[in-house]
């Protein structure tokens, strides 16, 4: 069976639900156009077998929204830089600069290491498995012999701490 056709059929069956999702995600009047883009991509691409077609389609729609948000933020930042007269001006790329950057990176990694250590080894392990290696929460819970709720709570704790660190480093 043609897998792309299979995915297209599921797309058509669930079009109203996907439209609702995109509107909920804040696509507004663009929701219809975005669905059309998704349809074209599905038709054009020869996708291999997809295990769970409907979650796959939702994820595709969610990624479109994430891309849209990212490009909006980038555009806003460029315009701001331009207004502040920083547009197009590059820092002098001397070798001293690279050493500075490396020192900053090393320092940041040291701070992140301390934050992760304070969370405790289980929380750190859960966070690395999930966020770096892309392993699902159900599998992590099985590996560690803890409940799914414990894994979810560990992740929330780690995320709060890491996002707080990231925000602090960005304002420094």
């Amino acid at each position: 069976m043609d897998m792309a056709t299979g995915l297209s059929a599921i797309f058509l069956q669930n079009r109203p639900a996907l439209l609702r999702f995109l509107r909920g995600r804040g696509a507004g009047d663009d929701a219809e156009d975005m669905l059309q883009d998704m349809w074209m991509k599905l038709e054009a691409k020869d996708l291999g077998p997809v295990a769970d077609p409907l979650p796959y389609l939702y994820r595709m729609a969610n990624n479109l929204m994430l891309d849209r948000y990212r490009s909006t933020v980038r555009r806003a930042k460029r315009e701001q830089d331009w207004a502040e007269g920083a547009g197009g001006v590059m820092a002098d790329p001397t070798s001293d600069m690279a050493v500075d950057e490396r020192m900053i990176l090393t320092q940041r990694l040291g701070e992140a290491r301390a934050v992760l250590r304070d969370l405790g080894p289980r929380v750190e392990l859960v966070f690395r498995r999930f966020r770096i290696e892309g392993v699902g929460q159900r599998q992590i819970a099985q590996e560690l012999g803890v409940s799914l709720t414990t894994v979810e709570k560990d992740l929330q704790k780690a995320y709060r701490a890491m996002i707080a660190l990231k925000q602090r480093l960005e304002t420094e």
Binding site: R20, R59, L109, R113, Q137, Y159
Partner: protein, 312 residues
């Protein structure tokens, strides 16, 4: 302040097994501010991996929870390729005198390679991250303590060239061969002539086109394409059904990066040719998909993992 519900949905939707998209839709429809909070947190989540040091975590055995074997199931694979800092500082091969005055050590930093011409006409190409011992008084001797070297030996029937790797001896019989030694495993590939493995014990003859590996699973002899032997010298790595963990070591040594792999990725195998590139970002952009893997920048190194994550 972090929007707690939005954080919960960030974590849920990032899970590769997430299926409750209708529940997520319902939450989004409650308040238009929900989508904005979710987007803002997903933006914070992006690039978080670059902030996380590549150190593996060691779980202490829980005191109140004996007999749980789950804890030890996961062990990260890790190859230290050193840092770019180390590579920059050690720009030149260091020669240091060890014990007897005629034995000297040649060390290369990860990502650095070096050619050594011995008095007898033998040439040794030393790859990065390698420690090799040579003898000033005996140009027919080399000991590979760690790393990788390719030997182009000027053959002499009366005085064969010998390479020591741990307790093992490789003896030439008119030969071009490459040896990799790391931890408990040794790999040798022969592209010209013949090498005798442990001439006074097993005495296994390895003609051109033959490779031998020795690791925890024992000794294995297999065919190898002669052009694949020491291909790192021409900026390529050539593999036939090689494990990703071995390939990862070769990459770390050859381009000088700190590289780790998830256990799933480490156990995978690859057949094909990988072009080396000293720019890690450019290298992994091409090489990772070729191996069916994804490479992510993690802390001051790189991580190889299976397939594609849910999103970048």
């Amino acid at each position: 302040m972090i929007h707690e519900d939005a954080l919960m949905w960030v974590i849920r939707t990032r899970d590769p097994e997430f299926v409750d998209w209708e529940g997520f839709t319902a939450w989004l429809e409650v308040d238009p501010a929900h989508a904005a909070a979710y987007d803002a947190l997903m933006a914070q989540d992006a690039g978080l991996e670059q902030l996380i040091p590549a150190d593996p975590v060691h779980m202490p055995a829980p005191a109140n929870d004996a007999g749980d074997p789950g804890e030890r199931r996961w062990r990260p694979m890790r190859w230290i390729g050193g840092g770019a800092v180390a590579a920059a500082l050690v720009a030149v091969v260091s020669l240091s005198v060890v014990n007897r005055s005629d034995i000297y050590t040649v060390t290369t930093a990860p990502g650095e390679s070096r050619m050594i011409a011995l008095d007898d006409g033998t040439r040794i190409d030393v790859n990065g991250g390698t420690t090799l011992r040579l003898d000033r008084k005996d140009p027919r001797f080399a000991a590979l303590d760690k790393g990788e070297a390719a030997f182009t030996v000027r053959h002499d029937d009366t005085h064969p060239f010998r390479v020591m790797v741990g307790d093992d001896v490789f003896e030439d019989a008119g030969t071009v061969f490459n040896i990799v030694h790391s931890g408990a495993s040794t790999r040798i590939g022969v592209s010209e002539g013949k090498v005798i493995y442990n001439p006074s014990a097993q005495a296994i003859a390895l003609p051109a086109g033959r490779a031998l590996t020795q690791d925890a699973t024992g000794l294995h002899v297999m065919p190898i394409a002669p052009e694949a032997v020491a291909s790192w010298r021409s900026g390529r790595l050539v593999y036939a059904n090689a494990r990703i963990d071995e390939i990862g070591e070769d990459i770390a040594r050859s381009i000088g990066v700190r590289l780790t792999a998830t256990p799933g990725a480490a156990a995978m195998r690859f057949t094909g040719t990988i072009a080396l590139d000293k720019d890690p970002a450019r290298f992994f952009t091409g090489a990772a998909p070729l191996m069916g893997l994804t490479a992510v920048r993690q802390g001051d190194g790189w991580l190889l993992k299976e397939g594609d994550g849910p999103q970048s």
